[in-house]
C-alpha cells in the first residue's frame, strides 16, 4: 500500500492519551501518522519526535492542511472535546474522539448529525468495548444461549479524585458522565437499547450515589449500583447472566466463566499488544470503519454514544 492510499492521521492533543492512541495507530499498516497538534509546542514536539512526524504545532487546522490529514484522533482536555470535535468535523476529517464527547446527549446527537451529513466516520473512544475480556464475555454468553440479565457494580471514589484537584471541579461534578460512562456503555453494548429505567439517587458522603434497574428492549434486565465510597477495592464488576453460563469480570481486565455445573474457567485480558488494553483493537476498528464506511462492532458512533448518555441521564 502506497503512502497516498493510507489513512493520514492527525493527533490533536499530545497528552497521555494522545501518546497512547498514537502508539496504537503506529501498529496499523493502513495508517500513517502525519501530524500532531497540541496546546503547547513542547508537548507537540515531544510526540512528533517520538513517532518521527514532520508536522507538529499548536494549530490543528494548520497541521491538518500541511500534512493533508484525512482523519484525526481528538484527545484534548475534557471540556474542549465537544467544540474541537465539531470544528474538526466541519473541516472534513474522520474522527476518533475521546469521551465524553459532550456532557449532554443532545449535543452528541447534533455532532452525530453533522458527521452523517458530511459522510464522515465519528467513533467515540470507548476502549473498554475492545477489551478482550469483554468481547470474550459477550461472545461466550451468546454462544451458550441468550443473555438474561446484567449486573454492574461501579464504585467510583470521586471525592478522593476531587481532593487531588487535578482537573476542573466540573469534571468531578460530572464524573458519572466522564468516567462511569464506560461501564454504562458496556451495558448498552451487551443489552442494546433501553426501554425503562427505575433509578434512585442520593448523596452518600460528599458525592452522589446511584442505584438503577434497567429494562432493555432486548428483554435483558440490568441492575446498576454506583456509590462513591464503596468497599471492594473500588473495582468495577460486570456480570453477564446467561443460559447455562455466567461470566463475571472484576475488574474488567479479568474474570471467570462459570458453567452450570459449577466449574469455572479464568479469563484474563490479552496483553499481547503491550499497550493500554483495548486501544489497538479500537484503532484497528476505527481504520476498518473508515474503509467500510460505517462504524463497525464493537465501536460506538456518535448516535450510539448519545443513547449511552441518555441512559446515564435517566439514571
Amino acid at each position: 500500500m502506497t503512502g497516498s492510499d493510507k489513512i493520514r492521521l492527525l493527533i490533536i492533543g499530545a497528552g497521555k492519551m494522545g501518546h497512547e492512541h498514537a502508539n496504537a495507530f503506529s501498529k496499523n499498516i493502513l495508517v500513517e501518522i502525519v501530524a500532531v497538534s497540541s496546546r503547547t509546542s513542547e508537548s507537540a514536539m515531544k510526540l512528533a519526535k517520538r513517532f518521527g512526524l514532520a508536522f507538529y504545532g499548536t494549530d490543528w487546522r494548520e497541521e491538518a492542511r500541511r500534512s493533508n490529514a484525512t482523519a484525526a484522533v481528538i484527545a484534548v482536555p475534557h471540556l474542549l472535546t465537544e467544540k474541537t470535535a465539531e470544528e474538526v468535523l466541519e473541516y472534513g476529517l474522520h474522527i476518533l474522539v475521546e469521551k465524553p464527547v459532550s456532557l449532554h446527549s443532545v449535543g452528541t446527537k447534533a455532532l452525530g448529525r453533522l458527521a452523517e451529513s458530511k459522510g464522515l466516520i465519528a467513533m467515540v473512544a470507548m476502549n473498554r468495548r475492545f477489551y478482550s475480556t469483554v468481547l470474550d464475555a459477550i461472545l461466550t454468553s451468546k454462544y451458550y444461549g441468550n443473555i438474561l440479565a446484567l449486573t454492574v457494580i461501579a464504585p467510583d471514589p470521586v471525592s478522593s479524585y476531587r481532593a487531588e484537584g487535578k482537573y476542573d471541579p466540573i469534571v468531578y461534578d460530572e464524573w458519572f458522565k466522564m468516567n462511569t460512562i464506560h461501564i454504562i456503555d458496556l451495558m448498552r453494548l451487551i443489552a442494546g437499547d433501553v426501554l425503562e429505567v427505575n433509578a434512585i439517587s442520593n448523596k452518600v458522603g460528599y458525592e452522589k450515589s446511584r442505584v438503577a434497574l434497567v429494562k432493555f428492549k432486548s428483554g435483558i434486565s440490568g441492575s446498576f449500583v454506583s456509590i462513591n465510597s464503596m468497599g471492594g477495592m473500588n473495582q468495577w464488576e460486570l456480570i453477564l447472566h446467561g443460559e447455562g453460563v455466567e461470566v463475571r469480570l472484576k475488574p474488567l481486565e479479568r474474570g471467570n466463566i462459570i458453567y452450570a455445573d459449577g466449574s469455572s474457567k479464568p479469563i484474563v485480558i490479552s496483553r499481547k499488544d503491550n499497550m493500554k488494553p483495548g486501544l489497538l483493537a479500537q484503532a484497528n476498528t476505527f481504520v476498518n470503519s473508515i474503509l467500510l464506511g460505517k462504524v463497525c462492532f464493537p465501536g460506538s458512533d456518535l448516535d450510539d454514544h448519545a443513547r449511552t448518555l441518555e441512559l446515564a441521564e435517566l439514571m
Partner: protein
C-alpha cells in the same frame, strides 16, 4: 521470580484441568435441560422404527437413553437386525415383517421413524401417511426423485401429518450458537460460505450441507453448478447405490455464495466450514470440535464446539418436538430443496459444470436416482 513461575504453573494446570471440563460441559448442560423439559412436559416418546441399520440403531440408542421413552416395535426385512438391536438395548422390541400390520400398530400419538435407504422412503412414507400416521421422522435424502418428494409433501398436507426430515444440524444447539453469534453483528452479514467436507457423496452428505447453508443463509438456493468426480466408489450400503463425490458452487437468492467440496481426492474428511462475513469470519472445525471467530478489530475468540455429542442431543430434541407436534425445523419442503440441489449438481456436471437454475423443470423431475 519463583512466585511468577508458580503462578504460570498454576495457570497452566488450571487450563489443562478446565479443558477437560470444557469438552463436555456445554453438551452436559443442554442434555440436563433437555431431560428436565421432558419430565416437566411429560414428553414420553413411543417410537416405531423401520430399518434397523446404522441410523436406525443410532436413533434407537438415543430413545433408549431417555427415561420414559420406548421403542414399541421395529420393522426390517432382516429379522436378525431387530433381534440384534433388542439385545444391544437390552429391551424387548416387537419385531414385524408385515408392513400393514406394523403400521397398524402405530398409535395416534406415536412416532414412526423411517431409517431405511432412500430408495424405499417414498413407498414407506406414502403408505404410512395413507394409513393415518400423523408423526413421521424420515431419513435423508427424503426420496430418489423430485416427483416423489413433491408427492410426499402433498400427501402429508392432505393427511395433516407432521413430517420431520433428519437434517440434524437444525436441531443441534451448536448450530443455534452459530446463528446467535452471527446475529451479534460482530462480524456483519454472511457473504460466502465455504464447506470442505472431504470424500463423500452429494446425496449422503451434500444434502446435509445444502440444508445447513439454507438455514444459515436464511434463503433458498437459486443456482447451482458443479462437477462430479469420475471415480465412483461403492457405498457401504450396497453396490446398487450410486452417490458420486465432487464439488459445487451455489448461489442463494439473497446473494450469498456457497462452495462445497466433497472431492474424492480429499481422502481425510475435514468437515471444515468457514463462514465469511462482511467484517470477519467464523471457522467451524467439526472434526476437531473447535469454533473460532476473527473480527475486524483483529481480536480472536475460540471455543470448544461439541459436535459429536450434539448429534445425539439433536436426535433426542427432534423426536421430542415431533411427539409434541411442534412444526418441523426441517420439513419435507426443506428436504426436497436439499434433494433438488443435489440433483442439480448431477445435471450441471452432465453439461460441463454450467449453471443450473432452480427450481428444476422438465424430465428431470421424474428421474429416479440410485441414492442411498
Amino acid at each position: 521470580m519463583l512466585a511468577k513461575i508458580k503462578t504460570i504453573i498454576k495457570l497452566i494446570l488450571q487450563r489443562l484441568k478446565v479443558l477437560g471440563k470444557e469438552q463436555n460441559e456445554y453438551y452436559q448442560f443442554k442434555r440436563i435441560k433437555f431431560i428436565e423439559s421432558v419430565k416437566l412436559e411429560k414428553t414420553y416418546v413411543r417410537a416405531h422404527i423401520v430399518g434397523c441399520g446404522a441410523m436406525g440403531r443410532q436413533i434407537a440408542h438415543v430413545i433408549n437413553s431417555i427415561e420414559g421413552w420406548q421403542i414399541v416395535s421395529a420393522f426390517d426385512k432382516n429379522l436378525e437386525s431387530i433381534s440384534k438391536l433388542s439385545l444391544q438395548l437390552n429391551k424387548q422390541i416387537a419385531a414385524s415383517q408385515n408392513l400393514d400390520q406394523f403400521l397398524g400398530g402405530v398409535g395416534k400419538e406415536d412416532v414412526l421413524i423411517i431409517a431405511t435407504t432412500a430408495n424405499s422412503h417414498y413407498d414407506l412414507a406414502s403408505q404410512a401417511l395413507k394409513s393415518g400416521i400423523k408423526k413421521i421422522f424420515i431419513e435423508k435424502p427424503i426420496c430418489t426423485s423430485l416427483a416423489d418428494a413433491e408427492s410426499l409433501i402433498q400427501l402429508a398436507k392432505l393427511n395433516s401429518a407432521t413430517v420431520y426430515v433428519d437434517h440434524l444440524r437444525r436441531w443441534t444447539a451448536t448450530a443455534e450458537s452459530i446463528d446467535r453469534l452471527i446475529r451479534t453483528d460482530s462480524i456483519g452479514k454472511i457473504i460466502t460460505i465455504h464447506y470442505v467436507f472431504g470424500r463423500a457423496g452429494f446425496a449422503m452428505i451434500g444434502t446435509h450441507i445444502f440444508d445447513y447453508c439454507r438455514m444459515l443463509a436464511k434463503s433458498n438456493i437459486m443456482e447451482v453448478r458443479g462437477l462430479l468426480d469420475s471415480i465412483h466408489r461403492p457405498t457401504w450400503r450396497g453396490a446398487e447405490f450410486i452417490d458420486p463425490s465432487g464439488s459445487c458452487e451455489v448461489k442463494m437468492e439473497n446473494g450469498i455464495k456457497v462452495i462445497v467440496d466433497l472431492s474424492d481426492n480429499l481422502e481425510i474428511q475435514q468437515d471444515f466450514l468457514i463462514i465469511f462475513c462482511e467484517r470477519g469470519r467464523l471457522e467451524v472445525d467439526q472434526r476437531n470440535e473447535r469454533i473460532r471467530m476473527i473480527g475486524p478489530s483483529g481480536v480472536e475468540w475460540q471455543k470448544h464446539y461439541p459436535w459429536k455429542e450434539m448429534v445425539n442431543y439433536g436426535l433426542g430434541l427432534s423426536l421430542s418436538e415431533l411427539s409434541r407436534n411442534i412444526p418441523p425445523r426441517c420439513s419435507l419442503i426443506d428436504g426436497k430443496a436439499a434433494l433438488e440441489a443435489t440433483i442439480a449438481v448431477h445435471e450441471s456436471s452432465k453439461i460441463g459444470g454450467n449453471w443450473i437454475q432452480l427450481p428444476l423443470r422438465g424430465k428431470i423431475i421424474n428421474e429416479k436416482f440410485s441414492f442411498a
